[in-house]
Amino acid sequence: MHIADFSRKLLQNSLACLKETFFPVRIHWLAAMVLTVVFMVPHIGFPGLSPGSEIRIADSKGDWGYPNPFRHYPRGPGYVRMSWVFDTLVWKDKNRYVPALADTWSYDPDTKAFSFTLNPRAKWHDGRPVTAQDVAFTISYFKQHPYRWISTHALDRAEAKDEHTVVIYLSMPYAPFLSDIGGTMPVLPQHIWETVTDPLVFDDPSAFIGSGPYLFKDFNKTQGTYLFEAFPDYYQGVPKKERLVYVRSGKPMMSLITGQVDLANIRPDMAEHLQKKGLTIIENEHGWNKKIMINHKKAPFTDPVFRRALAYAINRQEIIDKAHRGFATAASHGLLSIDHDMYNPDTPPYSWNPQKAKQMIASLGWAKGQDGFFHKHGQVLEIELIASNLTVAGERVADRDGEIIKKQLTDIGIRVHLRNQEQTTTDSRVKNWDFDLAISGHGGIAGDPRILSEMISPVYGAGSVNSARFDDSPELNRLLEAQMAEMDPDRRKQIVFKIQKLYAHQMPAISLYYPHTMAAFNQDRDITWFYTKGGISKGIPIPQNKISLIR
């Protein structure tokens, strides 16, 4: 091979030079070692992808923790990776709930109890059958060792009636039970977890024995890669693909085009380019919303009129056109997504009206100075707007919203200081009420209306930085309490309607728009991915529903 000889000669030459430089030092052995490496290279074959039955999914961050209830990160992708390994009682396909571990389920309003009959064929990965006892044990275990992802405050107790029926008694009516517990709570094998006292650090391999379609094989932290293998005697049939791999890639589109991965989230602008390359594009419902957090505990934001004036001042369509080139939809001020079946169409739209905004601010005693800004008692109206690189569905993105909002507020006479900070710094400032306005965003708005309680009232959303923690309006607090306990869907809908109107009126935070989240996948792997309506489990807007690999 010509190149090999040339490189060998070059190596010998440079080795001789090296030897000359350090002539008192003997380096025969170095020369020998390097030469052997040179000989080895030509005999190694080229790496190939084992096409076989394998699915590869790209993710930009890569590391989302170990896929078991206590070790996965408390974000969508973390839960999804666990969902492959641990099954829940019920699950959602494209539009509605479908049986999972439980074949049938019913709710008895008088005893406030849900009863589930389990699928007899369900087995744990170690071959033992899944019994009602396991479900009862899981409920009591989660009450003792809280699993952050679900809130067990509404559960009283659970009893296994016989081998395959279990009844869960509620301590109070809890409307989001099905979405929060039934469709989200992973069932744990009793024979493994009953001896585990400290689940957070329990990392023995048996911690990943679940009843889901895939076995957890490996997670490489630094590489950010996961490996799952199909569970042959899965009770809903052998999964379609033998292996499932998560890969980290900073440039998902590039990995898609080069065939390194089969499914990846993409930016809307990539869509038609990828379509030309023969990939299938899917678009999610509006499950994620961008909003402006307002520090309603600090003047002048304490006054709802001022907050509503801000809403009028912001031209959301310009943000959509400028910052996202139209790949977004204006959000409803009622916080719930417009695709949600409990969405109240006549929540006030606060369409862009700078004149009205100026009048409203003027009505509060602010007068326009010659510098074009509002002044009151010699103080200029000056606020600080914080923005940070938010992660939208796992994809870190820096966008122009801050700059556009700043321009719009400056136009009506408010001096704005735009400050961009690292995300965790922004989160901690919002948490400690050390801010005026902050741009942030969260998902779950197409899922269970429970999101309203979390994102408005401090009772449910104390921990989350996206929650407005607004309890000035007693009426709103009462409604939020009621909707959590209202088990009957129609009556709950009425309450949710009222909440949206009142929330829009109080305006503790301004919803801006729903970015279009899209994904693309390789059609000829004959797996069709889809976005679940209302998001996976309690509202995760990610197109990796395990149903795609089962049926």
């Binding site: 440079s14 001789a16 030079c17 090296l18 000359e20 430089t21 350090f22 002539f23 190694i44 074959g45 790496p47 992808l49 084992s50 890569g62 590391d63 923790g65 070790r71 990160y73 408390p74 974000r75 839960y79 952050r148 992802w149 957070l200 990392d203 490996d218 932290k221 630094t222 590489q223 890669t225 490996l227 292996r243 791999v245 998560y246 890969v247 980290r248 890639s249 900073g250 440039k251 990995s255 080069t258 390194q260 965790t424 989160d427 400032r429 919002v430 948490k431 942030s440 969260h442 998902g443 779950g444 449910y460 959303g461 104390a462 921990g463 989350s464 996206n466 929650s467 309690k538 509202g539």
Partner: protein
Amino acid sequence: MHIWKKWLTPVLVYLSAALVMAYASFRLPTLLPGDFVTAMYAGSDVTLNAEQEASLRSFYQDTQGFPEYLHNLATLDWGYSHAFMAPVSQLFLQALPWTLLLMGTAHVLSTLLGFFLGVEAAWRRGSLMEKAGVGMMTVLEGIPEICSGVLLLLVFALSLGWFPAAGAQMAYADHTTGQWLVDVALHLTLPLATLILAYLPGNFLLARAGMVMVLESFFVVTARAKGLPPRRVRYAHAARNALLPLVTRFGLRFAFMITGALVVETIFSYPGLGTLLFNAIAMRDLPLVQGIVLFSAIMVLVANLGMEYVYTLLDPRVGHAS
């Protein structure tokens, strides 16, 4: 007494420097605003209520004071990473090989290549080849890592598709060791090329300048007079004296191994220590941050000590004080 004193002061000084570095690596991360719980849970889809949050915070609370931190340090128990739920040392050892592979080879290759090219160019001083070489290298010196990295990625990974665009190896492909080696090599080429493009020019110009200066000295004429073959004169006599500045640069650069390649690691999603540190900082995963910062501090001290020793090896005239 004199010898003992001669060696004691530097050792004492280095020890105090090590102590200061340990304190810095302990204290600085704690100054970062926000903590692990806020970073992990704040923006998440999970909403904690007040007491849940309090219990979490207490679990992740770093209660250890500096003396305790030192004690753990001594017993090589570098603490437990919050995010990864794994001992820091284990995480570290997983990421270190990749960084060593990328940065190590980049440094060694660029220094050796820079040395040979510099020596040859200086020897052919005034020839067309030398002028062209120096010209090209100066132009290369001007291109920042971020630009060359991006361009290489776009050209070779995206449009030509010769090399994989991300990662250090194809995940979970069941390769034979031979195939695995080639796969790692393929993934390594682009980031390595970027780093070499970034480091080579500096080394080349340094070697060339040093060599040009040495060639003017008399002992090179003596060497030629002794009838030694030209290559021997060039390397055993001349290049040997032009080695010192290059070694200093190698030592200094080697110390910044970790943070040095952060940009390249981000462009090529290469799983090195730099990315680990950057994510750890974002996640406010203090034990991991402290571990890595301390390791880089030790690297700097070791590099300095090593260099002092190498100085005397390379050039007997260099006194201890330099």
